[in-house]
Amino acid sequence: MREALRDLIRNRELLYMITWREIRIRYKQSVMGLLWALLMPIIITSAGLVVRIAVSKVSGRPITAADIGGIGVKALPWAFFVSALRFGTISLTGNSSLVTKIKFPRLIFPLSSVLTSLFDMAIAIPVLLVLLPFVGAQASWNVLWVPLLVIILVILTAGLCIILSAGNLFFRDIKYLVEVVLTFAIFFTPVLYDASVAGKWRTFLMLNPMTPLLEGLNSSVILGQPPDLPWLAYSAIVAVLLFWGGVVFFQRLEPRFAESV
């Protein structure tokens, strides 16, 4: 594990270049260019609006600006998570010529998928910042939780990407499995709604390590409240364990990559 990290630090230029390549390719020859980074969050937020309007019609509770802001704040990290996993899973198989022809730490591929998606999120963040005052965000010092939340989110996503990329190299069905799970995961993760909607079933939603992170972002940015700390600690532990386990798993399989891809 320590050696893996040292290897990564030694090859940081490579990680940078591979990420740069991914970004360059994604935005080259596309008409919309950087607008693509906004598309996913906008669609997720619109879908959330539709759901919220429908729910408020049924329950009679009027929809608030903060509800909309909450969806926006959660849509960004969710879009990041989905795109990182989608690209991360196929990052090794998609680079098979590099995996079989050149020797370097392959951990770079899933990690560069995460960084590429992080770049997309970074583009969307200023847009969200401009909109925040109009959707009832409560400015408070609790905003300072955001960097920590994002770091945990990135570690969690990276851990999953590392495991899935290595898995997909040996078993190509994993790619389809990931697609299916990601399509429906939005129902099991409170992106379009709040975890409190589930009432006494909230605990089950919180067991999804993404939930405390998204809820935490909502409370610290929109509601001006600190995140639910015990659950946040739970997310952090799951993230670190996944990342650590993922790297160990990845490295155990790495010697067989070139002949199995």
Binding site: I18, R24, F170, F171, R172, I174
Partner: protein, 419 residues
């Protein structure tokens, strides 16, 4: 300080024929199997074979090693082990110094990126820092000869341009050990020459070079030592010309041919002044020896030898008859030896020898074999083509400019009327 650059300690590698488990439903059985027995030690399963079988050798610092063998002999797999892309099933590999492997030119090039972007990307992928690439950028582009296309996406490049750029990046790595797999076969002749020269310069600079190629002439000229691989084993390890000789001989089998007539060719050998060899310096003498054996009585047997170049163009042929030697008549079971002596004034490349036996009066063919054997020509001066005429530049100097008006020769008057 040890003086070895690279060492393979009894390396074994097991491969599977056919499909590996590629979907989840095959995972469980294979995991159970793996848990039950230790993978490294077990014997081969029916579907498995050794792609590398007990490979052991050491390469000294500054040595140039050529690896040859037929397709599927395990050459590329061996390079992938040397460069650390693959890990052996058994045995170990020691590398002493910075190793760069060029298994495929332009691996890592992205078609949508420009030449410039790909040079940076590929340079870093192959182990340079960005600062290093920046410093060598002009040199790399110059060497590839692509200055005017450097900002064009490489998907618009011809395959030769693509290969040139790929090779150029790798050639500027300054490694201690350079491993190259058959990358010069792409690109035109001029670039192949340039590539060999570049590799020679790298070797002169003290680097160890390991070179895999089907281009025997390149191996002969460039490598001082050779290794012949066959089905995962080292067949010979020694001076390049002897290794090439063995390789060329494995391609031809005189024994396994059915008898076609009363006389058959038993063996064909070519030797230089100092014994059997596979490579000849232009202008050297060679002896081509043919052994024939009569299965039944055969009359008036004449021997023809033919020489073809790598394009199977007929470079030269002659016969005992045309050289004024009377044909032999053989009794059943009798053997005969026929030696031709030739001066090899040939250009560089691989040549194939064909042998024909015929009855000189009726021109009835007794036996023929092609290629009976082959050899490689090398040259110390850069001349090309089928023949080597030993060129020297006898004179090449500029004339002084004579000042003052110079009368141009008058144009012949035309009497053509305007159309």
């Amino acid at each position: 300080m040890s003086d070895f650059a690279l060492r393979m300690n009894h390396v074994f590698k097991r491969f599977r024929r056919g499909q590996q488990h590629d979907s989840l439903r095959d995972l469980i059985p294979s995991l159970v199997k793996r848990a039950v027995r230790k993978d490294r030690e077990r014997a081969l399963a029916p579907q498995e074979f050794w792609v590398l079988n007990d490979i052991a050798f050491e390469v000294k610092k500054g040595e140039t090693l050529g690896i040859i063998g037929h397709n599927g002999a395990g050459k590329s797999t061996m390079l992938k082990h040397l460069s650390g892309i693959m890990v052996p099933t058994r045995g170990s590999i020691e590398v002493n110094g910075r190793l760069s492997a060029l298994i495929e030119v332009g691996a890592g090039f992205h078609p949508d990126l420009t030449g410039r972007e790909n040079v940076y990307l590929n340079g870093v992928i192959l182990g340079m820092t960005r600062a290093e690439v920046r410093r060598k950028f002009d040199e790399i582009v110059d060497f590839a000869g692509l200055a005017e296309f450097i900002d064009t996406p490489v998907k618009r490049y011809s395959s030769g341009m693509f290969a040139r750029l790929g090779f150029s990046v790798a050639a500027h790595l300054e490694p201690d050990i350079l491993v190259i797999d058959e990358v010069l076969s792409v690109g035109d002749f001029t670039f192949q020459r340039k590539g060999i020269e570049k590799m020679r310069a790298i070797a002169k600079g003290g680097a160890t070079v390991i070179f895999v190629s089907h281009n025997l002439q390149a191996v002969a000229e460039f490598c001082e030592r050779g290794i012949l691989l066959d089905r995962g084993r080292i067949v010979v390890d020694g001076p390049t010309d002897q290794v090439i000789r063995r390789y060329l001989d494995t391609a031809v089998n005189h024994e396994e041919r059915p008898a076609r007539g009363p006389v058959r060719i038993v063996s064909t050998r070519i030797a230089g002044t100092s014994g059997a060899t596979g490579t000849f310096q232009a202008g050297s003498k060679a002896r081509i020896s043919v052994t024939l054996e009569a299965v039944a009585a055969a009359e008036r047997v004449a021997v023809v030898i033919q020489l073809f170049n790598a394009d199977f163009y007929d470079v030269f042929h002659t016969s005992t008859q045309r050289l004024g030697h009377a044909p032999l008549s053989l009794e059943a079971g009798q053997k005969a030896e026929c030696d031709f002596e030739v001066d090899l004034h040939l250009g560089p490349g691989t040549y194939y020898i064909g042998v024909y036996l015929y009855r000189y009066d009726t021109e009835h063919e007794y036996d023929h074999i092609f290629p009976a054997t082959s050899f490689v020509m090398t040259t110390d001066r850069d001349s090309r083509g089928a023949a080597n005429l030993y060129p020297v530049v006898a004179r090449y100097d500029a004339r002084p400019i004579i000042p003052g008006p110079q009368a141009l020769p008058a144009l012949p008057a035309t009497n053509r009327s305007p159309a």
